[in-house]
Symmetry: C2
Subunit: 451 residues, 2 copies
């Protein structure tokens, strides 16, 4: 028979079993963390009507979208989880309770040009809190706590959540009469890290065509540094000059005020006036998250406050705040840089049962008993030489092998071999379960990401 | 602004939050059960090259496939999880260990004609064990144990796993010189439940054009009933007439032999000689699962043994055995028939914290402390009247509301209201956590499906 070469499309991540287990663990950590804050899981279709999905129209993403017809229908694959959320909330408004808190971890599709580390199918892991008309500032204050818990649970300690407020920026530009140039200024300021303050100042004068004194004002503002308390204190000097600025300052103060109560460590959080996060969508607090030892990765968790989730679908005012993690890319980068802790990830099972007798009843019953004790147990019954069986155990990385021969059956015990130490002991089913469970919980608490 | 009507395509399931929680619980139960047997999670792309996905070509499904081009690429959405598995195993053969045991729970796409209860996007939950050249019969014997555990954990007791063996059927038709008509005969016999034995016999004579004595032989064979032991004993009378039949009988004996050791209750298992499951693919043991009080649903979990998983991609012989649950349709039917136990499903959080003071620090710290105790806790800080807050708690179905006012803060306690009993008590953080955890574990052990 003529064969077709089995291949996976470029830009589509397909993991080997051990990597997949790591990826699953990362997804589970996010799921558990999001759920611990009372977010409810949502699962919207991958395919939507193109008219609905592209209601906002235009934009950079449109040409990347997977769009096609099936029968009479003009269809498209979702390219993010925000538009489907907007559709969902608008369509089910009457059946939802607000604030509506949802998380969604799912695949999205963008036909980007294929290149290393760029994915056409990738997971996003989003949370959003949607208000009906209003949404209290405390929701914006809670987001850093969720980011903090997420990365801490993943095993990262050297990260920083950077927070700013769009009202503060917009107010600042307004009080300086630069509102019209705000977009251009923000894009230029965004280069601070790359080209340095002096070159940014020169660009503001030469290309944005600002008066030197105004460029100086911008540079002074962006140069505000220090502890959170110091930054907030420095901002007080601008108070009273613009209502939007004052509102932004109040909000920023509220966000910072409750950090300690939320359990967020000061060293993982910084007010950073250079963060802007795009131009149109966000209207209040904005967030970025940097891995301090790997700034080249860029922000691994970003988002902010917006005023109008679903304006293309409904007249209702639906303000919200949300963050997103590009999980596939994050995992890819961690993996490439060797930052995934191999030892934290178990095999596909906790114990491999190897029967040593012709009749398998005792081995099958032992495996069933261990499963009832909460273990993941694989029974190996292929007719192979002993060495081949142990090779298999090695290859799948199972931590324990359980042998069951005539002697063990007669004694009512199991021979349990620790595959790392090589040590082998005779134990009862419940002793075996206790031994392996202790090992499992040590693995479960080991950090997934090593620094 | 002109609005686009927010709508979800027909044939695409989109659940409200409480239903989604039930669906997630069902998925989790499957995931945990599959993992407990040492199956490893897999996640393959939704989009594949059309050439790869349709390597087998033809077939009924081809016209239902979502196929489209993007740039130069001819693409298609996966329509099952078996073809992607075949591709995966063939592509990654050298990096896998055999037997390779994987589970995958994922969405697949078929452009079926839209009708109630038919889905174009639906979850399948599959497990397969793939051997390299050979695969021991014990793997076929283990499958009923996995089905048994799965449905038992979902809360179903009145179900029956029906098992047959294709070699037994093929051998029987061969010994009667009816091999050529085997397909037609099986399709006719398949109507037994619907039209009864007499009409089936007549159809075999009139339409399949069988001699009456041969039709009688078929009817006698299909009429074999009784306990598993009785059915196996009845089959002994055919032994020695056809090698394939004898092989099938050995296999069936092996599958039945270990049922008790695997912990499968006899009343949930039946050898059923009328089960055939399609014509070409399966070559050994075949499985169906019926909900005894709802036979109209049809088989909710089916599969079987096959000899050649990936013949379109590789010359390697890759025999396997697997089962699949059509999760979306199963969930839909359970929901329609009111078989999902409402009481088993929690809200999106275990406790809602309502601060009663201007300063939120204490409430935020209490919520954080409860989360550290493993609870899912939502903080409610919208500026609403007390009644509106309690309405919200009611609507999201949260079992406990935690109040924190000046008094509680002064006393170092929480006021905890049980929303079902209405009872309110002052408790410490750890007492609160213990109370709610006990309630959570009662919910977690409650059956999802009620009969």
């Amino acid at each position: 028979m003529a064969k077709v070469t089995p291949r996976t499309l470029s830009g589509f991540m397909e993991l080997l079993p051990r990597q997949q287990l790591q990826f699953e663990r990362m997804k589970d950590t996010l799921r558990d963390t999001y759920a611990s804050y009372g977010f409810t899981p949502l699962d919207t279709p991958v395919i939507e009507s193109a008219e609905v999905l592209l209601a906002k129209g235009g934009g950079e993403t449109e040409k990347q979208i997977y769009r096609f017809t099936k029968g009479e229908s003009d269809l498209a694959l979702r390219f993010d989880l925000t538009v489907p959320l907007a559709k969902y909330v608008a369509a089910h408004y009457a059946e939802l309770s607000f604030p509506f808190r949802r998380f969604q971890i799912g695949k999205v599709y963008r036909g980007e040009r294929a290149q290393r580390g760029r994915f056409r199918e990738f997971y996003q892991a989003d949370i959003d809190v949607i208000g009906d008309g209003k949404l209290d500032i405390t929701n914006e204050a809670e987001i850093p706590a969720i980011i903090y818990d997420t990365f801490t649970r993943l095993g990262v300690r050297r990260f920083q959540i950077r927070v700013n407020n769009r009202k503060l920026l917009n107010g600042f530009y307004a009080m300086n009469g630069m509102s019209e140039k705000a977009g251009e200024i923000m894009r230029t300021v965004d280069k601070l890290d790359k080209i340095g303050a002096e070159k940014v100042r020169q660009l503001l004068i030469d290309e944005v065509k600002m008066l030197p004194c105004k460029a100086e004002n911008v540079m002074d503002f962006m140069a505000i540094r220090g502890t959170n308390a110091e930054v907030l204190a420095s901002l007080e000097r601008y108070r009273g000059m613009d209502a939007t600025f004052d509102e932004g300052l109040e909000e920023l103060n509220a966000v910072v005020k409750y950090l300690a109560a939320f359990g967020v460590s000061e060293e993982n959080f910084a007010v950073d006036l250079t963060i802007a996060r795009g131009l149109d969508y966000y209207t209040g607090t904005v967030y970025e998250t940097i891995m301090l030892d790997h700034p080249e990765i860029g922000s691994v968790c970003s988002g902010g406050r917006y005023d109008n989730l679903a304006e293309y679908y409904t007249d209702r005012q639906l303000p919200g705040v949300g963050i997103s993690i590009g999980l596939t890319r994050f995992f890819y980068v961690l993996s490439e840089q060797g930052l995934l802790a191999e030892e934290s990830v178990g095999a596909s099972c906790d114990a491999l049962v190897l029967p040593m007798t012709e009749d398998l009843s005792a081995a099958i019953a032992a495996a069933a008993a261990l499963r009832r004790e909460g273990l993941r147990v694989q029974l190996y019954t292929e007719k192979k030489k002993f060495k081949a069986k142990m090779n298999y155990a090695d290859k799948i990385g199972v931590p324990y092998v359980v042998f069951l021969g005539e002697d063990e059956i007669a004694e009512g015990v199991l021979s349990v071999k620790d595959m790392r130490s090589g040590e082998q002991r005779k134990l009862s089913v419940s002793e075996t379960a206790a031994l392996i469970r202790a090992d499992m919980s040590a693995r479960a608490s080991a950090a997934l990401i090593r620094e």
